[in-house]
Amino acid sequence: MAFDPTVSIAVIAIYLLITLGVGLLAWRRYPPVSFEDFVLAKRKIHWFTGFWSAAAAQFSALSFMGFIAFYYKFGVAGYVAILGMYLFLTCSMYYFIADKAWKLGKRFGHITPADVLGEYFSSKYYRYLVGIALILALVPYLQVQYAGVGILLDIATGGLVPFWLGGLILYIIMLAYTWAGGMRSVVWTDTIQGIIMLGAMLFGGFTLVFLIQGGIGAAYNHILEKIGPEFFTIPDRTGVWKWDYLLAWAIPVGLGWILHPHMWARLYYFERGHVVKYYPFVAGFIEYLLQTGGWIVVLAGVLILPNVSPDQYLLMTYRMYFPTVLFGLIAAAGLAAMMSSAAAQNHAVGMVVTRDIIHTAEANVSDRTEVLITRIAIAVVGFIAYLTAVFGYSLLLTSGAAAASLATASILPQIATAMYGVSRIGPVKLTKEGAIGGSFAGLIITLVLFLSPTLSKSIGLYPGIWGLAANIAAFIVVSAFTKTAVDELKAIEWKRTTEIPITIFEEREK
């Protein structure tokens, strides 16, 4: 179909204005009055907006373009890797951890993962380390969003808005409402963005597959004829995704999403605790719809556009088959996905800087100053991520998966011990030094392997799984040779706190 960039630009501009308006409306109606209000909306978020915000914070450039690029390149192996990773590992992680984190947060006032670990292992240095590790893990993830917006606006405007300008537009608009309204603005805009994104992916996918292929079954048959059965098998047609590699990739990546501070904060912000029990279902269901919509887009167009850049496949297909107004709406939905994650991540980085670094160094900072520091950190780190996207863009999925696996390799074993109140493993008493050593080893090994692809290739498997293994090994070995053990009374108190029914917490809070 004929593509008119001015129409597409107009649709996107309207969408951006609506988003900005909603974000600022949240600020006008509920201006943040304290640090906890700015970063967690006083833990009073309604379940509906809370779940949509969590889903939208998870939807990102990865969901909109990166994952689809993956299906396009690797066929069903990509879909099984992504959906299996999310539905089984991420949702199981929600099941095993979400309600415990909510209860501990209610009792001890936690906001970030470093709050949990710094307190459990009684170390302010550990708090610094975890804060810095999680910022390191979030920046590439945030970079993905800027890169995604750059690509999207480049295609959606027929090259009129170049890559660097697209990312800059995202930065300015998102900064405006995040700076003003904090978590509440982020949650309100996320809700609208999440609904738009999911609607567009399902509508677009089903429309395209019927328009181009005549239905889903027909699409399978055409692909079987033209590409062959290897599009639907594991290992995939490129031979990369064998089962061992797939598992080694899915474990650190799937378990890492929740550990990012922007997702972790979403375990605490619900007003009603029972809601977190539905996290695995709601998060899994929304992601299932989204990813299956994406898979159907691939079934629709993989034969028509067999040789485009994987990251650009989705938008190119829509641009070919939809009228410009509709294409503009789809592009706006893509922007919604990226902006929702970028806002959540940027807001979280600000929160981590203030809470885990500034507050740890100087506890007597006023609430007002903390809010100001958070806002400045949001602006500065967001701009750094924007610059890294402009000057060092890499394939979307590669950066996003790296970010998640860095979080897993850095803190997963320690978070698990804190959530379950574990103070020893067999005869070994877990120590503060062990926890720090484990996190440090996991972080360094993963970073080194990501930064040296040759080394990583020669070792085999995915870097994140080696980082996780290094963390566990160092955690136990260092603990065995050091003495500052986790306070057993504290471990018991934490364990008991997580065993108390949510109903009791809610009644006591009234």
């Binding site: 099984v80 889903i216 079987l224 098998t233």
Partner: protein
């Protein structure tokens, strides 16, 4: 912050143990589902025939069947755990007040 200091945990030990036992049973179901997805998906990946509703069997299995069973289980878990939580809280209140 919620204050739980005066709760006498030992008094409720049996009730809490019952809660944990039931939860452990449910967790086993989650782990079983993970096992259902990964190795079986690997096994069927080499057999793309027959077609089911026009879909290769493997695609039907991994895209429709297993995800929907899993989601249904997670929905059940949410409902069951909230119910259990309220029941246990009720029993604990009975013991305290």
């Amino acid at each position: 912050m919620v204050d739980l200091v005066e709760l006498d945990f030992e008094k409720y030990r049996d009730i809490i143990e019952e809660y944990k036992r039931k939860r452990r049973l449910m967790s086993a179901g989650v782990i079983a589902l993970i096992l259902l997805y990964l190795p079986l998906a690997s096994f069927v990946s080499t057999k793309i025939e027959p077609m089911i509703f026009g879909w290769p069997f493997y695609a039907f299995y991994s895209i429709i069947l297993v995800p929907l069973i899993t989601l249904a289980y997670f929905l059940f878990l949410g409902y069951y755990e909230v119910k259990l939580d309220r029941e246990i809280a009720e029993k604990m209140k009975g013991g305290v007040r």
